[in-house]
Each structure stands twice: as C-alpha cells, then as structure tokens.
Symmetry: C2
Subunit: 500 residues, 2 copies
C-alpha cells in the first residue's frame, strides 16, 4: 500500500513560495473557527524514521497560531506516567475543545516498537489495534477531529537521508534518543506499518499517507490535507454531537419484564451492633495490612461507590478509608465538572485522578453518572449515554489489564427506606445540610433511576470489574459487606504478595 508514497512527488521552490502565504492565512482562519466551535483537534505524526517528523511539527507550529497548539512527544516518559495505566499519558496530552494537540507517534508508537522488538505476538498487536480503533472512535463521537499522518519514503531515500543526518553533526538527530534498528529492517518495518495503517484506517479517522522524500512536497501536502480536514469538520454540525456519532443502540424497553440482579437481592439482611463491631475491627485490621501489601507490590486499587441519595455511600467509604493509611488513598468526590473537565471527554476527569502504583483512589460517585443522572435528567443524549457502556467497559478493562484492582459498589436501598432517611435528615440538626430540594426531585424519578441502574449493572458488570450490589437498608450490614468485598478483592489479587 505504500507504493503511492514512493513515486517521487516534488514541489519546486517557486511553487512552494507561491502557495504558502495563502495556505497559512487559510489555516489560521480555520484554526480560529475551530477555537470558536470548540472542536478538539488531534494531529498524529507518524511514519518511517528519518522522514522529518520533527521538521513537519515545527512547520505546523510555525504555520498555525502556536498559542493554541500543544505538542507532545512521548520519549520522556516520567515515573508518574509509568506508575499508571498506559493510556494515562495520552489522556494527559489530549487537547481541550477548541485547541490543537500535535502528538508524535501517539498511541501507535509503542505497539509498533514492541512488535519490532519481538516482544509481542501478532494477536497481541491486533488486539492493541482494535483498542486504538475504539479509542479514536470514542474521541470522534465526542466531537474530536483526528488527523493521522503517515510519512513514508523508499528504502533508497531513507538510506540517503540517514547518511546525510549522520554527517550533519549539529542536527537534532544526534540529540534524540533513537536507534538504527528500523533502518536495517526497512522491509520488516514496512510490512508492520502496512498492517497497522490498514487496521486503523477507519472511515472516521483515516490515515493520510504522505511521501516524505521531498521536504517541500511533504510540508505542503500536510498543510493542504490539514486544511481540508479542518474545513470538512467545520462544515459539520456542532462539536457536541458529531455527525459521525452512530445512532445509539436502542435498549429493549420492556421494563415490566425486566429482571436483573437488583430484583434478586434479599433486602432484609441486617446485622446486630455487636457482630458489626467485631467484624468491622477484624476487617479493618486486615485491610490496613492489605493496603500496605498492595503498596509494596505496586498494585493500585480503584473503588467506585454509587447508590441513591441517602444510600449510605459516605458512611461506607469512611469505614474503608479509616482502615487505610491516609498516605495511601485519596477520595474523589464527583460533583459538577470544572470548566477544564468540561473541555474534555467525560472520562478525562476520572483518568486524571487515577492512583499511582500502589495507591488507592476512592470515587464517591463516578463515571457512571453518565448512565445514571445524566441519562435520567437528560444531560446526555440517548446517543451519548448509550455508547458510554462500551466506553466504560473499555476503560475498566484497561485498568484491570494494568493490574489495577477495580471494585464497584451499588448500595441498594428501597424507596421506603430512603423516605425514612430523608425525614431523619430533616429533623437532625447536623444532617439538615445533607438534604436538599434536589434530593426530593430525584426521588420522584425513582423508577427511571431504577431502570438506569438495572441497565448499568447488567451492561457493565464484567469479569475484570464486577459490580458488587449491596443490600443497604441496614447500614451496619452494608458497611461490613463493603469491607468484605474490598478485602476479598485485594486478598485475591495479592495472594502471591501476602506474606503470612
């Protein structure tokens, strides 16, 4: 497929000079419109070595208004990156709405490096490419424009370029961390590149193959391509609901006939105070040890707490965190997003709080807001929230694959019990601030929330990130059940690290 990038396309100096001024003005104007429309633009710069990717990026920064461009190279992985799931660094580098992120290699680099180094099998690579496809689709559905450039040249041209670079000792080539592996394996790399480019050349995010042997042609081709993709994107609808978004899958709406986990719970379970105290103490002691074991084993933990208002999330969380050294955990309370968070995909704000290796993050409400409150209150469109199940499962699978221990709790209470608790809050002085008009409004939508919960549990309870549904009408029973599930999950995950 790369033959088309080896035909010797050239642009003369005169042609280049003639075309560039207008192109720059048009690019600036398109960029300005992008900023106004709020489209996040991701430009991926990839391709064979010595194709001049750095030069291209410098040129883009020169042509565009650099104030709204952020360039990220991934050669300087920090230990904060390494301590988290692999995509954390990509999420960090995603541009906010209206800005441009130029990414060197992006998520394509390490799968290709690993495969070239013989570290991963073909099937692992394929799985990775499928993940990339999902990731890009997710961003695009959220309004992003992804422009992927693949720079290519013939083996002869590449050899010539390498020679020139090694002569020019002032060039950046001597400064960048690199190796000559790829040059020696031109053929092998090209076969791999074809596989990668083909598998990820989706209609939503096509690859643009650019012949790189002539610098002027290369840069002009990049500029013109970028301009046309920006214009095409701007001609579409608003950023919030990209026309790329497929119609959301229609969920079977047979509420009466629907039975899920929630209906099978025995809501009458309770625990006496004596037993509660005894078991709480034992479980907290064990959890304290397990948290330190996880720290030493560099295994992170993510706990998610969801439940109706007055479901007892706060109390349950406190019984967990009371057992864990405060240096090891962080509680994230999810309320309305900040404006920086709103400028990104809705999962961005959860990625940013992922714990470093060996730590724990407790999410008090979570990404499931998308399919609960946002669904019921209409803050997200059906198209948006219905594709979230898939996005969430992907997200949690990435956590699990990175060794993160994920446990999700739904604290289930009955509608009657909620009423009792609301009334209690209204008459207890130090609890009055916990009950608002909004709580009462939400309560009116109990059935709709119940439908949403049913869907959520059935569609996102996965092997790697199961839902633990807790009958929480009795607070003592619920807290012990939560602690049991947390210790059980850590004990199982750390069984090889626990020393008796």
């Amino acid at each position: 497929m790369f033959e088309a990038a080896k035909v010797g396309r050239k642009v003369s100096k005169a042609d280049f000079k003639a075309r560039v001024p207008a192109l720059r003005a048009e690019l600036l104007e398109a960029q300005r419109q992008v900023a106004a429309t709020g489209v996040p633009v991701v430009i991926i710069v990839s391709g064979v070595q010595a194709a001049g990717k750095g030069e291209v990026v410098d040129r883009l920064n020169h042509w565009l208004d650099p104030r709204w461009v952020q360039t990220t190279a991934f050669w300087d992985e920090s230990d904060e990156d390494r301590d988290r799931p692999r995509y954390w660094r990509f999420w960090r580098s995603l541009p906010p709405r209206g800005e441009v992120g130029v990414l060197f290699g992006a998520w394509y680099q390490s799968p290709m490096d690993d495969h070239m180094a013989g570290d991963v099998s073909d099937s692992t690579l394929d799985a990775e490419l499928s993940r990339i496809e999902d990731f890009e689709r997710m961003l695009i559905c959220d309004g992003a424009l992804i422009v992927k450039f693949w720079f290519h040249m013939s083996e002869r041209d590449q050899k010539r370029r390498f020679k020139a670079l090694s002569r020019e000792d002032r060039s950046r080539w001597t400064n960048l961390p690199t190796s000559s592996t790829f040059a020696a394996h031109y053929q092998r790399f090209e076969r791999l590149a074809e596989r990668v480019v083909r598998a990820t050349d989706t209609g939503m995010a096509p690859w643009y193959l650019i012949e790189a042997s002539n610098r002027r042609y290369r840069d002009l081709a990049v500029g013109e391509t970028l301009l046309s993709t920006l214009r095409a994107r701007l001609a579409q609808a608003g950023a919030d609901e990209a026309v790329h978004a497929p119609g959301g899958p229609v969920l079977p709406n047979v509420a009466g006939a629907r039975r899920t986990l929630l209906d099978d719970i025995n809501m009458d379970q309770a625990m006496a105070t004596d037993e509660y105290k005894r078991r709480l103490k034992a479980l907290q002691a064990e959890l304290n040890e397990l948290a330190w074991t996880a720290y030493k084993a560099k295994r992170s933990t993510v706990l998610v707490f969801e439940g109706p208002d007055a479901g007892g999330k706060g109390g349950a969380i406190r019984r967990v965190t009371a057992a864990v050294d405060s240096r090891l955990y962080r509680t994230i309370q999810i309320a309305a997003p900040t404006d920086e968070e709103r400028a990104h995909h809705y999962l961005w704000r959860f990625w940013r709080h992922l714990p470093r290796a060996g730590r724990m993050t407790v999410y008090d409400r979570s990404w499931y807001g998308r399919v609960l409150v946002e669904r019921v209150e209409g803050f997200a469109t059906p198209t948006q929230w219905s594709r979230s199940y898939f996005e969430i499962n992907e997200f949690e699978e990435q956590l699990a694959n990175a060794g993160v221990i994920v446990v999700k709790f739904w604290l289930n209470i009955t509608k009657d019990e909620q009423l009792v608790r609301f009334k209690e809050r209204e008459v207890t002085p130090h609890k009055q601030h916990k009950i608002t008009a909004e709580d009462w409004r939400n309560r009116e939508k109990w059935d709709e929330y119940n439908d949403a919960v049913n869907d959520m549990v059935s569609r996102t309870s996965t092997r790697h990130a199961p839902w633990v549904v807790i009958p929480a009408n009795d607070k003592l029973f619920a807290r012990v059940a939560v602690l049991e599930a947390v210790t059980e999950a850590l004990r199982t995950a750390l069984k090889d690290d626990v020393t008796s």
Copy 2:
C-alpha cells in the same frame, strides 16, 4: 521551648470517649462552613520521629469529612517533581478554596533533613526559614488558614516508642522509608527544631506544640486546636481579603516627576528588511543549538512576554519558537483563569505550567497581569496588587535559584503606533478578529497602564530576572532584539555546557 511538651499530659479513656462525639460534630460543622466560605485550609503535621504523625493524620481524616480533605506525604518525590523548582510539589499539593490539605512535613521537612545531614550551613537554613515565612504569609494574605502542628516528646518517651514500634512488625513503621538517624541525635534535632519553630512561629501562622506521648491527649489536643483555629478564621471577614492582610504599601504617586527605564528608550530604532532577514536567520540557528544544549544540560527556560495590545507579542514569540524544536517548548497563552485556577492563589496557574528540566515555557502574558490589567481595571484591590511585587520577585528568585533561565520582555510601543496598528487591523480581513471593543477601551486607559508598567519594571527588574524593555514600534527591530536577548541569556547561562 519544648519543656512544655514533656510534662506528661494525659487524657483518660473515659474523658476521650466523652469529648469526641461533640468534637467531631463541631469539626464537621466548621468544615462545612469553611467549604461555604471558601477558605483553603493547610494543616501541617510535623515533629519528632515516632510521635505518631501518621496516626494523627488518619484520625483527622476520620473526624473530618474526607471528601474535602487531601493528604500529601512528600516521601514519594516523582521525577516530574525533581525536574522543577523545589516548591513546585508544594504548589501542586495546596488545597483549593474551601478544602483542607493535610501535609506531612510540608516545606519544613527537607530544610531540617538537609541541616541534620550536615548538607547546609546555618545561614542557608535561616535563609530558607525566611523564605518559608514569606511563602506562608503570601498564602494567608490570599485567604488561607495555615495550622501548624509540632509533635514532641521527651527523649525517654521517644526511645520507648521506637522500641515498641520495632517489636510490632506489622506496623507501618517497617513500611515507611525512614532512618534511625534522628533518634540517635535527639538533642541535636531538638536544638534544630527549636531554631526552626521559633523562626517560623509568626503571629499569622503560629506553631501549635502538642505533647505526643499520650495518644488520646495528642489527638484530642489536635482536634480541639484545629476546631478553635477554624472558628477563629471563620469569625473573620470573607476569604478574599483576610484581615491578616497588611495595608498595602502606598506607592509614591508623583507621576509627573517619575522617570523610569521606559522614558529613556529611543523609540525610533528600526531595522531594514535585509539586515532583519540576515540576523534573524543567524540568531534562530544559534537559538536552535542553544535550546538543545539546554536540554542536555537540564536547564529550563522561562520567557515572559508583556506589552500593550498590538505590541507585537505574538509575532515576536513566533520568531523565538520557530527556532526551537517543538518538542522542547510550550507556549502558554494567559487569558481568563479557569475555575480550578481561580480556586487557588493567583500564582498557582503559572507554577503549574513551569517547564520540566531542559524545556522552555513561553508565557504570552503572565503573572504580571496582576500588576497591569488587574490593577488598572480594579480586578485586584490595591492591597492585593501592591503586595504582588514582592511575591513575584520571590517567585522568580526561586526559579533562578533552581537554575531556570528567566527573561522578561516588555514590548514597548507608542500610543500613536498603537493607533496605526489598530486601524490596520480593522481593515485587514484576516486581522479583524484581533481587534475588539475591549482593545479600544484599554487604549483609553493608556496613561494608567503606563503608570502600572513603570512601577512594574522598576519594582521587579532583578538581577536574576531582568526586564528587557524592547522599543517595538518597528517590528523587525523588536523581533531581532528579542532573539538577541534570548540567545544572550542562554549563551551566558550555558557557557560551560556549550561545546564548540
């Protein structure tokens, strides 16, 4: 001074149990009011080893609502921390308004560690303590409450505690990175502690000495002290203008008699296109090399661009960044702060963008907005902006001390030249978006801005971070002058690293 913390204070189990429920309720209520008022609360936990600082912090997390508490221990310094000026990690860990940050050791830890290790002299320590005093005053003037706990116990009690800890092999003591240096040097450490505590026991941010040998007394004392400090702070005025704030220094207001650098500039300087092209090319080539040299030498660069509307900041910045590999720099465009930024001290948003070692951050407008637009437009009170000169000088000194190369540009144009440029923008199609009603409004305040600039340059042009005032009526001359100053600064700073 620590005798008072060795008198054997105790609280019985019964007393503890009797007092705690009310204390917790009162703490929660005070915390809720803190959240409503928007006071950021910094709790510093420090003291002799084995005093149970971890236990105290766990207790605080248990008593307070942990959703609004962030605990930071500084034992896990990441390379992203190490790659930046030392206070970067403290700025990262400061709580936003309305929340509580619990900091282990905070900014006191490493100066004490270094002094105990014999790495720093007494005078270096004193200088550091003076910096701490300034830093804390700055936060307090911004509305923060800083509660500093020093935990102490007698040598005998500490020895006993160490023995017990080493027996208890399940304790966190075996897990935390530590050393027994301090225990062996009880006397020496106590003398150092006295020096540190005395020097930083300011009226604004007093130390609370807590005897730590009895756990119940220790924790109850912490709880009661915290409660009373929270209440005292809440009884004060709003968060924005703490009553602690001293009256701002009155600047001599004799505008007619005032002559500064700005008045001495020859505004007629200009450059012919031929010379411009020649020198631009040479300077950009040199800057490209220097940026790579700085990268290899791990020296960061911070460039600040200020100037009136249409002063040519953007054009000058582009001539600088065009010379630097796009992987090495980032341009930060300062517009209205995001809500996360507004929830912190005004310098927080600039700290967060500081470059990693070897990189460059170009600030297009900067922290000087405080003493320019915020002063002239009244967004900051005179008290606020007039203390900023000191805060800014401190900030830049910290950068310089960390080896960051700091260059600040004021691009000076005359009022007539601005008018010419405004009119040109209005008639040039692709420049029309650059001219707004606000620009014309700002122009009406030309003289007030001029006063502010005069003050700014004279009060913040320091040896370590000088202002370079550029006569910018001629764009070509200005751009070359900027590049000359940048290359000159890098060349001087890197003279030992440049290989010919």
